[in-house]
Symmetry: D2
Subunit: 304 residues, 4 copies
């Protein structure tokens, strides 16, 4: 199969819809990214690498950071994590407080904002320099020492993120945050502000297609069992409240962010990352989702 | 009718249930109030005054302050207030965020916490020294210069009030707070910490039974129309999510607080205040509600 | 006070808004009533009677029947009724099933559809010929032997009332109906189809302003205590999800129906009925609500 | 890999938990099935077949029928089906009406009761003898002419299924049923009453592991694309409100029923069916879920 040719076909086919999505506008740093950007990268477990478009350009990974903080929390807390956050799709918008109230402050899963705040709280309880360690681990996973937080993005989120602040205090009111909500929020906003390229995100998540072993370093990041767990969570909870539709169209465990990035995993075979800043109504990259759908259709490869 | 004799009868009859309620325990200042305290005071529009028990002892008025801040907001903003807060019973607990999410940050009424935060925000936008002015007005209404905030209570609420903080940030996220949420919260926690006695609360609310005129000073606090409005809001929204049951049993416009106080108004005739710290499941004073029920039954006086 | 002159003033003032409401359109029998109809009647406990416009024309009383079935259930079952239906405003539309699910099939109050179905079930368990008895009692209360069900209306409701059918089966699934849901629905649809005039509804509800005694017959319908209870329920639950606004504007215990009628009670003094088929967004008669508001403003009489 | 040996190991390991679940008790036909029954069957696309325990005993397939009716509706209506039913996990219990109200009568997915009622309505609109045709198709898929409805089960459901009746009328009230609710319910209750064995269910669903081709007959049941769609729906919506946990533990697209059966699919490789009547809190077979988890763990085969 000529993956590079398929990527080129996809690039051509998604061009008309690059401007159809809406770029996230709640902070200037996201609003100012040109809508027509598009990049895509594939990295196989046996070492091949393919890319197209702006695959080397860094963008704000936003909620994709929830994947990396989850991985760290699983490493640090093991199954005890699941006493504080669930493993079910929420059926509600990612920033809803309704379910949280009905379910006494236990978020449905680690990939909605409420869940990621609890995951961040867990990490903060284990690590003195948690935020820096998150950066270090992500940098190590993709083999690039210069991965950094975009401090302007973090600051803007801090100024406008009243919904996330409400959520942190709400969870604290149920006793499900151990640390000060303001400290949890600061760490959370930093994680979301990490800037990475498609290529780097592919590298960083390739161990999920490789039984838990980072192929570059040979490091064991997770056990095969844990990888199976994380991939299933990506499939059932990774793309906001469009997980059903996303699984139906794309059929790969995936995590999206409002910066327009989507990371996807084909277990045992490859990782994939696509970026296009225009979002659909669910907050997933519109052209990015279409590109992934075209990829699984053209290659005939999906988990289903 | 011998009101004093009726108060004495009531005092006897409620004694067995003084310890049946649960004293609010989320801050030490409330938790340490002895459960067996009981006071009751009546003040008629034609100058008579009756009292029993601990009617002169000051307690934390808590949510009863929502009545005074509403009055100020009505004076300052007039009908424009109702663009930002509704006039309907919520059917939900006083500190729920669910309805707020479904209704885009517009609280159901001024007597749930969310509504009182918006009311406080309105006052802050009009007055430079809003918190001090609230104190001054309440002090003037009851003719006691030494009415004060209990700063220990305000500080404790500040430390533990994560649900209220969540609510303020949540409302802000919908654009329904003009001021900084932290400033609104600080003012709100101060208002709730006012310490007053049954006697003083009777005086302060007597104008609601007197067509809007404060009987001691002769000052016009509100128009007769506005008084009708406030009394109807007290009846339909003043006693947390037990308004129906409370109207059924007591039949008077009333506002309760978790400090155990309840202020009630019989239009054109008298105001009434009862205090007993033990609360029922809805957060209303258990013995206090019973005392008011006995009062309207024994006197045959209610609005129904 | 010249009540007749006031009614004439009101008639003039509401004329412009007679066509502003929307006539209920879900069954042809309601949809075909001309929007410009308007009638109003007042009946005092000391025998005076006033009327204006179409006060003698019969219309479909619809939800006003919930008042009469509640009265019967209180007479038959006493306080045991409150184990099966609550006494709190719902804060939700009259035909919502959401709250019913969260609260395990116990309706919030007797004046939402779910509550009236339970009330009807209670009556059916006590009386063999329940539906006929409801008619007989209403006929006796207003002293008109020819009060009848409009069978065409009842049949239309039967054909289109899927929401009410859903509700009856839902309540049954929680075990809160003793009788067959279809039998309960048939009785309920009949009660709603009663045709009565403003004048007749005034007569039938006058005992609520007269300590429970029907003035024409001298019959004791309820105890003074029960009257207080029913009036408080009317105030807090009688006008769909607009009870707060209605109390704020009108300030009288009231029950409305989608046929455009509203019955109101001023305890100890008079009953009132207004009819105008155009409804506001809450399902209350638009011109009718305005007429009642004008009445309490012009007379200065309300419970607040 | 010695599948038969693995099945035997699993049989031994699940024995202690056969009596830990609760057998569905709302109708006598289900309540009377002995809790200690256990069967499991595997059928590979290349013709191998394995079984253990009561794999030939027929049981009530209940909600597993939703898989077969969905397949028929996809065949009959194509993508038009998705205008009437969604493709997202509900996050709520399978028989909840709450979401249905908030989302105007469009069920979240075809595997909750509300969704299956709409699917049944679609089939009824296309086929004169819909219920019989459902039976015929299922019989053909598993190659057993004697597959039959259990009429006693269907009748019991009809008598007690008030929640489902509520749901059908509720959906009708939103205009999302074309046929009479009673007719839809009758068909639905019949489909749920089909009696099949593990072995037969394996056969009937094997085409989902075989690109849409029924291996016994060679018939094309669905396109490969449609198979991918159905498998993704099974994964995200097939096991009530435990889909996340189920995917996490088992990692296979699956459909469960309250009769204690679970069908699972490993795309391109095999289908699997397990039966044990005791249910967990989510309504999935307790020992059955454990058996599937052991199977994917022991074989190292899952979609993740």
């Amino acid at each position: 199969m000529d993956i590079q040719a398929i990527l080129e076909e996809i690039h051509g086919e998604v061009s008309p819809c690059l401007k159809m999505g809406r770029v996230a506008s709640y902070i200037p740093e996201l609003a100012n990214v040109p809508a027509e950007r598009f990049g895509m990268a594939v990295r196989t477990v046996d070492g091949a690498s393919y890319a197209i478009g702006d695959a080397e350009e860094r963008f704000s990974i936003q909620s994709i950071s929830k994947l990396f903080t989850l991985i760290m929390a699983v490493q640090l807390a093991g199954d005890a994590l699941w006493k504080r956050v669930g493993r079910e799709p929420s059926g509600n918008p990612f920033n809803s407080l309704v379910q949280l109230e009905y379910e006494n402050g236990k978020p449905r899963n680690p990939f909605i904002n409420a869940g990621a705040l609890v995951v961040t709280d867990v990490i903060l309880s284990y690590l003195d320099e948690a935020t820096q360690t998150v950066r270090d681990i992500v940098a190590a996973l993709c083999g690039k020492a210069d991965i950094e937080f975009d401090l302007a993005v973090a600051r803007s989120e801090q100024l406008t993120g009243h919904r996330n602040k409400a959520m942190a205090h709400f969870i604290k009111s149920f006793g499900n945050l151990d640390n000060d909500p303001d400290r949890v929020l600061e760490a959370y906003f930093h994680h979301c502000s990490l800037a990475m390229s498609c290529h780097e995100l592919c590298e960083a998540s390739l161990f999920l297609a490789n039984n838990g072993i980072a192929p570059m370093s040979g490091d064991i990041i997770m056990t095969p069992s844990q990888v199976k767990y994380v991939n299933s969570l990506l499939l059932t909870c990774g793309t906001y409240d469009a997980v059903g539709d996303f699984a139906y169209r794309v059929g790969l465990p995936s995590k999206s962010g409002v910066g327009g990035g989507i990371v996807a995993v084909m277990p045992k075979r490859f990782s994939l990352c696509v970026w296009s800043p225009g979002l659909d109504d669910s907050g997933n990259s519109l052209a990015g989702t279409r590109a992934l759908e075209l990829f699984t259709t053209k290659t005939g490869i999906s988990i289903f």
